[in-house]
C-alpha cells in the first residue's frame, strides 16, 4: 500500500489513460444505440465476448489476424442486427423496465450459450507483443495499439456522423423520434444501421481485447457494469461525455488499483459515480431529460 508520487504512480496514471481508450470505445457503441434507439443493451459486453470467441476460432483455424479481426467485427455487427430485430423491436413500445430486462435476459442466454458451446476454460490467442520500457515504466504494446485504434475509430465515427447522409439522419433521429419519420427518414432502417454500427464497435473492442485479455464466458461481467456506469456518468446518449467519463473512471481504477488492490480501485470508481449522480443526475454532459 504505497501511494507516493513516484515513477510507479506516473506509470499507473499513464496505464489508466491507455485503459480509457478501450472503455471509451465500448461506451461509445452503447451510447450511440441509446441515443438513437432509446434502449440500453445490458448485454453489450456479452456481444464483445461473442466477438472475442469468433476471433479466437477464426485465428486458430489458420486465418491471419487481420482477417480474423474483420470476421469478428462483421460477426458482432450481424449479432447486433439480429438482437435488434428479434428482441428489441417487439419491445420498442413497452415500458423502459421491460426493455432493460429483455436485454438482461439476453445477457444470461449469451453467457450460458458460450459456456455450453465453448466450455469454461480460459482461451488465449497466444499473441505476445512485448512492452515498451521508458525509464522504469513499462507499457505493453497491446495497450498502446488499443488506445491508438480506439481513438482512430472514434474519430472516424465522428466524421461519419457529421459528414455522411446516413450519419446526419442518425443524429436527426436521436434528436426527434417523432418528426424525422415525417421528413421521409425510414426510422426502422436507421435503427438497423445503428444496431449494426453499435455491434461493429463492440466487435472492434473485441479485436482489441483479445490482444490483452484471456477469453472466458463471464468476461462480460467484468466490463459490463463499468460501461453502463461510464455512459450514465457522461450523460446517456452524450458521446463526448462518455469519452471524458471513461478517462475519469479508468484513472480511478488504475490509481486505486496501484495504491490498494484491484477491487478497491473499482469500488472507489463506483462510489465516485454514485456521488457524481447525486450532484449532476443527468450526467456530466447530459442535457436535461
Amino acid at each position: 500500500m504505497q501511494c507516493e508520487l513516484d515513477i510507479f504512480f506516473l506509470e499507473a496514471v499513464l496505464n489508466g489513460v491507455l485503459l480509457a481508450g478501450l472503455l471509451a470505445l465500448l461506451a461509445l457503441g452503447l451510447n450511440l444505440i441509446f441515443g438513437v434507439v432509446d434502449v440500453v443493451w445490458i448485454c453489450y459486453a456479452e456481444l464483445v465476448m461473442i466477438g472475442m470467441y469468433g476471433i479466437n476460432y477464426a485465428y486458430k483455424a489458420g486465418a491471419p489476424f487481420l482477417a480474423a479481426a474483420l470476421f469478428g467485427i462483421l460477426l458482432v455487427a450481424l449479432a447486433g442486427v439480429v438482437l435488434h430485430q428479434l428482441v428489441i423491436r417487439p419491445v420498442l413500445d413497452s415500458a423502459p423496465i421491460n426493455q432493460l430486462l429483455v436485454t438482461g435476459g439476453v445477457l444470461f442466454v449469451l453467457q450460458a450459450a458460450a459456456t455450453v458451446v465453448f466450455g469454461i476454460d480460459f482461451k488465449t490467442l497466444g499473441i505476445r507483443l512485448g512492452s515498451l520500457n521508458i525509464y522504469d515504466m513499462s507499457f505493453s504494446y497491446s495497450r498502446i495499439i488499443t488506445f491508438g485504434v480506439a481513438s482512430a475509430a472514434m474519430l472516424l465515427l465522428w466524421l461519419f456522423l457529421s459528414r455522411s447522409y446516413v450519419g446526419i439522419a442518425i443524429r436527426a433521429i436521436a434528436q426527434d423520434r417523432q418528426i424525422m419519420p415525417l421528413m421521409g427518414v425510414d426510422h426502422r432502417r436507421i435503427y438497423i444501421v445503428t444496431s449494426a454500427i453499435g455491434g461493429g464497435l463492440a466487435g472492434l473492442a473485441a479485436v482489441l481485447m483479445v490482444l490483452q485479455y484471456d477469453i472466458y464466458p463471464q468476461i462480460g461481467l467484468q466490463f459490463g457494469p463499468l460501461i453502463f456506469m461510464i455512459c450514465v456518468l457522461g450523460g446517456l446518449g452524450s458521446m463526448i461525455g462518455g469519452f471524458i467519463a471513461a478517462f475519469l473512471i479508468s484513472e480511478f481504477i488504475a490509481i486505486g488499483g496501484s495504491c490498494f488492490a484491484t477491487e478497491w480501485g473499482y469500488a472507489i470508481a463506483f462510489l465516485f459515480f454514485m456521488i457524481v449522480m447525486f450532484v449532476r443526475p443527468q450526467g456530466l454532459f447530459g442535457g436535461k431529460a
Binding site: 419491445v91 423502459p96 455512459c231 450514465v232 449522480m277
Partner: protein, 348 residues
Amino acid sequence: MIRVSKSAIIGLALLIALPFVIRFFFGGSERYYLHLLIQIFIWAFIYTGWSIMGRFGLTSFGHGAFTGIGAYGCVLLWNYVGLTPWLGIPIAVVVAVVVALLVGYPCFHLRITGHYFALLTLALTEFVRLCIVGLRDYTGGSLGTQPKRYGDGLSLYAMQFETDRVVSFYIALALWLAGLAIWMWVDRSMDRYALEAASQDEEAAASVGIDVTREKLKVTAISAAMCAFGGAIYGQYQMYIGPDTIAGLGVSLNIVFAVIAGGLWVMLGPTVGAVFTQVLSEVLRVTIQSTAGLQSVFGSSVLALDTLIYGLLLVLFIIYMPKGILGTILERREKKYASSTATPVRAT
C-alpha cells in the same frame, strides 16, 4: 382489517401439513423436497420485498446489495464478534436500510427515475459486491464464507436450523407469510395511493400535496429491510454465503426477473415467480444431469444448459407476457367473468 378468504385458510392448512404429506409419500427424498420448498419460500419473501417498491415504477437493481448486506452483516458479526443473530440480523437490516436511504434520498429528491435509477442502483450492487470481495480477510473474498457452527447445528441462540429441515420449513413458511402480510399492509395504506399517483405523474402528485420523496423513501426502507432480512435467513439456512450467491448483479437480476415472470402487480405474483424459477431451474438441472447423451456431447459445460433455457424463457416472457404468469391468468379470468355477467353499462 385483513379479510381472510376460505380458500386462503384451506391453502394455509395444506401448506402446514405439507411436510407430513411429503414424509408419507416421498419418505426417501424428504430432505430434497423440503429443501426445494424452503428455497422457494425464502426467495418468495425476498421477491415480495422487491415488488413492494418495484410495483411503483422504482425498478431497482440494487437489491442484490441489500441481501448481501443482510447475509454478510449477520454472519460476520457472529463469526468475529460472537454476536447472536438475534442482534446481528437487526443490525444488518438497519445498515441495509441506512444504505438504501442514503442512496434513495438523493435519487428521489433529484427525481432520478427510469434508466438512470436502474443503472445507479446497479452501481450500488457492484459497489457492495466489490467491498465484500475486497475485504477478503474477513469475508473469504469470492470464495464466500460460512457462519461458525454452534454445537450440533441446531440452536435457538445461534439461530441455526439447517440440520432439521422440518423446522427450517416452518421458519421459511412463517417468513413468507410475514412477507405477504407486509405486502397487504402496504397495499391497504394511503401510501399506496400516493405512490401510485406519483408513479403515473410525479409533478401532478406533488401538486396535490403528496410528499413524493418521503413516500418513496418509506417503501424503499421497507423493501430494503425485507431483502436484508431474507438474505440473512438465507445465509443461516444455507450455512454458506458467497458474493455471487447472495450479493451482486446476478442476484439483483434474478430478483427482478422472477418478479416480472410471476407478475409484478398482484400479491402472489412474486411467489409464483419464485415457484416458477426455482422449479424450472431444478427440473432443468436434474433432467440435464441425468441425460447421459447430452453429457457426452457437451461435457461438464452442459451444466450451463439450464441457464440457457432459463434465460430464453425469460426473454420470451418479457416480450409476450409482460404482466407475468399470475397477472395474465388473473386478467383472463376477469375478462371471462366480465363477459359472462355482461353488464350494459360499464363504469369507467
